[in-house]
Assembly symmetry: C2
Homo-oligomer: 292 residues x 2
């Protein structure tokens, strides 16, 4: 399918959103009322998915991974633009159909894009959002003594194929952004062992992880090193937040979602990353997360 | 260079823009005052540049091609986010340095991005802008009888290497957006023979091109079919606008830029694309533009 044919097929499938100028324009346009945000995420054949992956799931994953960044900010989607670099052996229309379906599931219209030829399938999704409430969360804003908490169980995402169906945590992100006791937030894509130190570093802190307290996903095989899997597998797309330790019980009590908010570590003043060793003493964190 | 090292090196080179939250966040954030817009453009190894291209020029081209869409809308840049999929044999930092230098030349801060491994270099740039004046131009808004005009000479971009150094026409785009006699605008990336019919189609029109009137760039070799080169070569990144025919003389007189605005065709009511044949009669346009 040539670029023009693909664009024509896509235009038949998408509808312009109210108040946002979209497909068919060089730029999509919108007049926002408040704080807005932008994030880009790319998925690449052989890195984020296999050469024989279902093209619809590839599109779905690309959309969900990008939307997850909006969710972590406590934003709601305004729209998305997509750069599709597609080799002839991939069904580019199916990729885009999976992508559009996932965007629509989160009320995010496709507003435009760019399609090119390629030898390797790359789908780069830029999502545009606005604050769902009064503020947007960020990786920054936390400090020494804050608790690190996660919104759901981690690990086993790659082996189980769950990584192709990430679930952006919009409701959880909006709730966290509305709480004054939540200081910083990000989504977990590279694994807690990689992402928690990043969050700490952004706040000029170090972190202590509590691997025994990290909730382990059912997708982690029973016979495996489940603690390591939960900390290192990556592609969980749960949210990691830094919250006021003094208000942690209040947050736990108020948390309205079925899966509990779980404590997985602390921010500390000294740069670095540690965890408790077998004898209860702190040792440098023995793992790093997954790097794409 | 690993992803984390690349990001650290980039952070040392970019500075947060006033009022815009950028690098180091999952989302960049901004509170706009008026109409905003978004556009994405990807450049791919083997499609838009050769495997032995200068990585700084690749970055420069990626940035300029994306900025050109803002220019065509009459927007000013607010910032950009970049998805870089980079094989080890490419110097990803040099790509990003060329990209950042080009963004900064147009006062466009780099606000964030995503880096991944790949076997083929792909640079996808999303630019965020706001109306430079009262409105944003679009491909739509024109009608039958409008003149098609271009902001500069066309052709020879690929053979001369000029395609690696596109010049976004921000001043011209802002001027066109400020004139009530300009009805629609786009930038010329695929060649007039491909892009003029696209502009016509968006307005439920056809077009007649005047190939003999199309200004030919000095980069087109003297002995070549210069008319065809000007219409078909592509990657010129001049602006194509549809303007009120009755006000064309006024626009010409008022046009403040050294290179004249030049008339290259008409929009007509009947769908299709034509040009004048050797005997002065209209014939179907014999060319289509470059398709990436």
């Amino acid at each position: 399918m040539r670029e023009n044919e693909l664009i024509a097929a896509l235009r038949a499938r998408v509808h312009d959103a109210a108040g946002v100028r979209g497909i068919g324009s060089d730029c999509c346009a919108w007049t926002p009322g408040g704080r807005t945000c932008l994030s880009v995420d790319a998925v690449v054949e052989g890195v984020h998915f296999a050469a024989d992956a279902d093209p619809r799931l590839v599109g779905r994953k690309a959309a969900a991974a990008a939307l997850s960044d909006l969710a972590a900010a406590g934003a709601r989607p305004v729209g998305a633009v997509v750069a599709l670099s597609c080799p002839p052996r991939w069904d580019g229309l199916a990729v885009m159909e999976g992508l559009i379906a996932e965007l629509e599931r989160h009320r995010c219209p496709l507003l435009g894009g760019d399609t090119t030829g390629a030898t390797q399938l790359t789908v780069s999704v830029t999502v545009w959002g606005e604050a769902a409430g009064a503020r947007l969360l960020d990786r920054r804003g936390a400090g020494t003594g804050d608790l690190l908490v996660v919104t759901g169980p981690l690990g086993g995402s790659l082996a189980s194929g769950r990584h192709l169906r990430p679930e952006p945590r919009f409701a959880e992100g909006a709730w966290l952004a509305a709480s004054p006791y939540v200081h910083a937030c990000m989504d977990l894509s590279d694994g807690l062992a990689a992402d928690a130190p990043k969050l700490a570093h952004e706040n000029a802190c170090g972190c202590i992880l509590l691997p025994a307290d990290v909730p382990v996903h059912d997708d982690v095989p029973v016979m495996s090193d489940s603690m390591r899997a939960a900390c290192c597998d990556g592609e969980d797309y749960e949210l990691l937040a830094a919250v006021s330790a003094a208000h942690w019980p209040q947050l736990q009590l108020a948390w309205p979602f079925p899966r509990p908010l779980e404590r997985v570590g602390w921010l500390v003043g000294q740069p670095g990353a540690w965890c408790e060793g077998p004898d209860g003493r702190l040792v440098p964190l023995p793992w790093s997360g997954y790097e794409h």
